[in-house]
């Protein structure tokens, strides 16, 4: 069998970043699931667990493709142009009364950001191997966008007042 050519440093760096993106997304969704479990919103917590699992499969695929037995040397946490990695949902996106539709809205935004990130690299002057991989990943992310949009059609859209709590924690309303 012909041995696989050794990846160029730029390609390896690109894939390490792609891995970091997936890993950070996995960890964030898992944190969101924990937060909502703590606040007894089990339906949305379960959905975030599912999203975390999906992202972890993407991360695994990168490790397999690169034949990395474990996590590669990671780029510095603050090396992104955005406040966090492009596919990481912000902490302030949550609400304790949120519904599955909101969770999917968050996931949709993250997938779109990731797609944009890879499209920018695909259109850049990066080496061909990196651009090709970025194009492939952008297409993957576009596929995820479509899947989430389909998913959202099957989930009830919250009406106005979804965040009204009959027994609110605050006294200042």
């Amino acid at each position: 069998m012909k041995a696989k050519p050794r990846p160029s440093p730029q390609y390896a760096d690109f894939m390490a970043r792609a891995y970091a993106i997936e890993l950070e997304a996995t960890e964030r969704y898992a944190q969101f699931a924990e937060q909502l479990e703590t606040h007894n919103n089990h339906e949305v917590a379960q959905l975030f667990r599912k999203l975390a699992h999906i992202e972890s499969l993407h991360a695994r695929r990168i490790l397999d493709e690169m034949q990395w037995p474990t996590m590669p040397a990671m780029p510095p946490a603050y090396a992104w142009e955005t406040p966090e990695a492009p596919e990481t949902a912000p902490f302030d996106a949550l609400h304790y009364l949120m519904q599955p539709y909101h969770a999917l809205e968050i996931a949709l935004r993250c997938e779109r950001e990731a797609q944009k990130y890879y499209e920018n690299i695909a259109a850049s002057r990066a080496p061909k191997q990196v651009r090709d991989a970025a194009r492939e990943m952008a297409a993957d992310e576009a596929g995820h966008v479509s899947l989430i949009e389909e998913w959202m059609k099957r989930v009830p859209k919250p009406g106005p007042g979804w965040d009204e709590d009959p027994d609110p924690p605050r006294l200042n309303d």
Partner: protein
């Protein structure tokens, strides 16, 4: 013989198994993430770091890390941390607080910790409200913030922690935003590296009692000027600051309190001699 294997720790290695109980959406989640990232960036180990706190939502942080932790008395995190750092100068000591714990109940300790300039990093999560006790105005609450607990607002001008820190002698002053966890991690790392008392004020929204603070992340902006080591210039900047400048705002050159030297000069034997009749 093989050299000992040193492993670069990741942010997750500084997170404990205790799950935070803050409200979903709270800025403090982001601050916890920033602290753990900063400790990983600094290549520290949990057993060489202590996180000391007082009381309040933000003060829960020590339990959520794998570092040594001390969840102390309301407003008294700084005296406890000062004692710890002077006794154990080898430890990196972080102090976590909020605007109520740090500026009201612990306000006096804040002044004197700045003045003493012991090598501590003081991280204050400011949300302009007492969140844990259901939304009372705090020292940094705007005078016209109207709520059932303060109808029409307090009418009292707010405390300006950065100006107070500068006037009291803090050696490093920065403002961060929980909306930018990685930027926040970078500022915390810089604060830890800087000798002396480093103060990092983090705008960390309370989404339950001050939901309008979700908009802070769109209001913050990088400080337009480089950090200065000139207190007079820093004072002018801080006094005219809009409250949303992010970055290092003052980086002083004052030598930190010489805890180790002072401890060595007072060895137990020497102290005993002083009491001999």
């Amino acid at each position: 013989m093989n050299a000992p294997l040193t492993v670069q720790l990741q942010a997750k290695d500084f997170k404990s198994d205790y799950k935070p109980v803050w409200c979903p959406g709270c800025g403090d989640y982001s601050v916890l993430s920033a602290i753990t990232k900063a400790l990983a960036m600094l290549n520290l180990r949990p057993e060489n770091v202590a996180v000391v706190s007082g009381i309040g939502c933000s003060s829960r942080i020590p339990a959520y890390t794998t570092c040594y932790g001390f969840h102390g008395v309301h407003g008294r995190s700084l005296p406890a941390a000062t004692g710890l750092k002077v006794a154990r100068p080898d430890l990196t000591v972080l102090v976590a607080s909020g605007d109520g714990d740090g500026y009201s109940i612990g306000g006096n300790h804040f002044l004197h910790a700045c003045r003493r300039n012991v090598d501590l990093t003081y991280i204050v999560m400011d949300n302009h409200v007492y969140g844990m006790t259901k939304g009372q105005p705090s020292p940094t609450t705007e005078p016209d913030w109207c709520s059932k607990l303060a109808p029409g607002g307090t009418g009292v001008r707010e405390f300006h922690p950065l100006v107070i820190a500068l006037a009291s002698g803090a050696n490093f002053i920065a403002r961060a935003s929980s909306g930018d966890p990685n930027g926040c991690a970078d500022l915390i790392a810089q604060a830890v590296r800087h000798p002396g008392f480093s103060f990092v004020e983090i705008l960390s929204p309370c989404v339950t009692f001050r939901p309008e603070q979700r908009g802070w992340k769109d209001q913050v902006h990088p400080a337009p000027v480089a950090p200065t080591d000139d207190p007079a210039r820093a004072a002018r900047r801080l006094m005219t600051d809009d409250g949303f400048n992010i970055g290092v705002l003052y980086k002083g050159t004052r030598a930190p309190f010489a805890g180790a030297a002072a401890a060595a000069a007072h060895a137990v034997d020497d102290l005993e001699k002083a009491f001999q009749l």
